[in-house]
Symmetry: C2
Subunit: 338 residues, 2 copies
DNA sequence: CTGAAAGCGCTTACAG
DNA sequence: CTGAAAGCGCTTACAG
């Protein structure tokens, strides 16, 4: 059975469909009585206005598109939650798409979102920031990149202040007396990896600790890579007493490798992660980590979209600060414990 | 600047807009040459067909709505991933909405989805299954409930076979020689909690182990609740040697409480969870758990939607089996270890 | 192979 | 306060 249209309601109410439209959108020009009557009839017949028809004339869809590599990534999920919250508060819906970190698919997905006339798009953790700069300059819908992996001055973005945050995270280790401090990076992390690496180097430098190349190893941003990287570090003649990890997932894997080697955390080796995923408070021991305000970053992304919709200018790159959350995976360095 | 419409392309190509429409939809009646030319022009001018206009006439939007309590829940995220994958393979988009487990909001959200003319809706872990039965019987769009908390025979659903799965999980503990086996439930879990509790009871019964009421405690489905519940259990005169948890998050909290009491897992107490969240392989020790095929459940949900779209009949309740994943949080019972 | 016309379900000036 | 008309951007019979 067909859905009731505005005309059906009009017939039922013995008025023109224009009147129905006005009554339903609470246009004050309609008399209270008829308006009331029309609304009741609409209600009873389970009428639902067609958003498609409406948006065709109003030129507004009230939806924003979100592309993530995969919603299964806890970071992405938290960000999307922030986006949803902010979107809903402003009566926007969210069209979700995943790119699987595949540039081709990512472009295709953006295309689809354009056809659906999303009013704005937020893309998280994209690896093709630079591709976007050109490909998307033709796009007519505002895009904001969240923690994108490549700088692209032309686009709007919200980013964590990687260098500062990483420097602070590493300083925490330095402050605990550690000098053999390693870094487990993300070989796919592009700009954010190199920035976090810079922050790490900066902290070493200001503490007068020489950088040892063998202490900089690469993971893959996931637990598997962190595990493998940590295993490498543990095989070193002089293994590190502390490790700063690209992110919490990496730390998770590294923690496990450490445990498998019969070492204790933090007594034998200290760890600090990056992100503060929900689970990081439940690892054993609970993880000290540099928190990214994921929820807030999601909000900020839609807020810049919103100001862009109004035609106002918006900051091009919003930088957000991390916050060190000290838990139990870091301890004061003690010489030769094992 | 306005988006190019089909008419703009028609003007550029010196044909009627009907011809443009046909060329773009690869209607074979159009001559290869003109079709080619039209497509090139459309491409160059960055033309994007308006999905709204199209769906107004085709009566198809190619989108399905998904409502979750919060995407931040790892279970929901995995399910949504499965939904997305299946949807994309069939050229559907996903409109995501969160209900915050608030019935009122959930109904509102469904309303919004209807206005957007989603062709189907999947609702995960809803607590108002029974409300749906009436409220949604008026709805014209097919809805499938995934692990809904209340039975409702009128609706389509995909569910884990809770009783069987829980019985098997508990049997695993029994098989390891445990007799003091506790259950930490979810006070908000409604039907799924009572079903999992039944499975637990059934396993005890078939093993001739008397049920002890003080061994059945309630959490809240989250780590906090699991922590509190386990603390209660540990204060018992004769505390359990094994615990079956409503879900992995509960187990996570329980694990932590156990650790805080200076007890070892699995030497002092064994744990089995439910879900097999991604993180469960990274807990310390890695968690033995009853895996729910979350990804597959998501797929199945859209598959039943798809068959419903075709007008075919579909099974009303698809039951899916859990799979016990044995890791290191369970061990053979040994008398009086501490 | 191509075009003119009608219509999908709304909103919104324009009249009255 | 209400209605008739036009139009948003498409698709699709119907002609030719």
């Amino acid at each position: 059975m067909k859905r009731a249209s505005i005309k059906d309601i009009a017939r039922l109410a013995n008025v023109s469909h224009s009147t129905v439209s006005r009554a339903l959108s609470r246009n004050p020009s309609i008399s209270a009585n008829t308006a009331e009557r029309i609304r009741r009839i609409a209600q009873e017949s389970g009428y639902r206005a067609s958003a498609a028809a409406r948006s065709l004339v109003t030129r507004r869809t009230g939806t924003i598109g979100v592309v993530v590599t995969t919603i299964t990534d806890p970071f992405a999920a938290e960000v999307v939650r922030g986006i949803e919250d902010a979107a809903n508060e402003n009566d926007y819906c969210v069209l979700l798409a995943n790119s699987n970190a595949d540039p081709e698919r990512e472009m295709k997905v953006v295309r689809t979102l354009e056809e659906r006339r999303v009013e704005g798009i937020v893309v998280t953790s994209s690896r093709l920031g630079s591709l976007y700069a050109t490909a998307l300059s033709e796009t007519q819908v505002p895009i904001v990149l969240l923690n994108n992996q490549h700088a692209s001055a032309f686009l709007h973005s919200v980013m964590i202040a990687n260098v500062d945050a990483s420097r602070e995270a590493t300083r925490h280790l330095v402050g605990f007396g550690h000098r053999r401090i390693a870094y487990i990076g993300d070989r796919y992390g592009c700009q954010s990896d190199s920035e976090r690496f810079s922050g790490y180097r900066a902290a070493l430098e200001e503490a007068g600790i020489p950088f040892r190349p063998q202490y900089a190893v690469q993971g893959d941003g996931k637990a598997e890579g962190g595990h493998a990287a940590m295993t490498t570090l543990l095989r070193l003649e002089e293994s590190p007493s502390a490790v700063f990890c690209y992110n919490d997932m990496t730390a998770l894997g590294a923690l496990r490798s450490t445990r498998e080697h019969g070492l204790r955390v933090p007594e034998d080796v200290s760890f600090v992660g990056f992100d503060d995923l929900f689970i990081s408070q439940y690892t054993d021991p609970p993880l000290t980590t540099m928190r990214q305000p994921m929820h807030d970053m999601g909000r900020k992304a839609v807020e810049t979209l919103l100001t862009l919709f109004k035609g106002s200018a918006s900051e091009h790159c919003i930088q957000v600060r991390g916050e060190l959350v000290v838990r139990e995976s870091t301890a004061i360095f003690k010489e030769e414990k094992n």
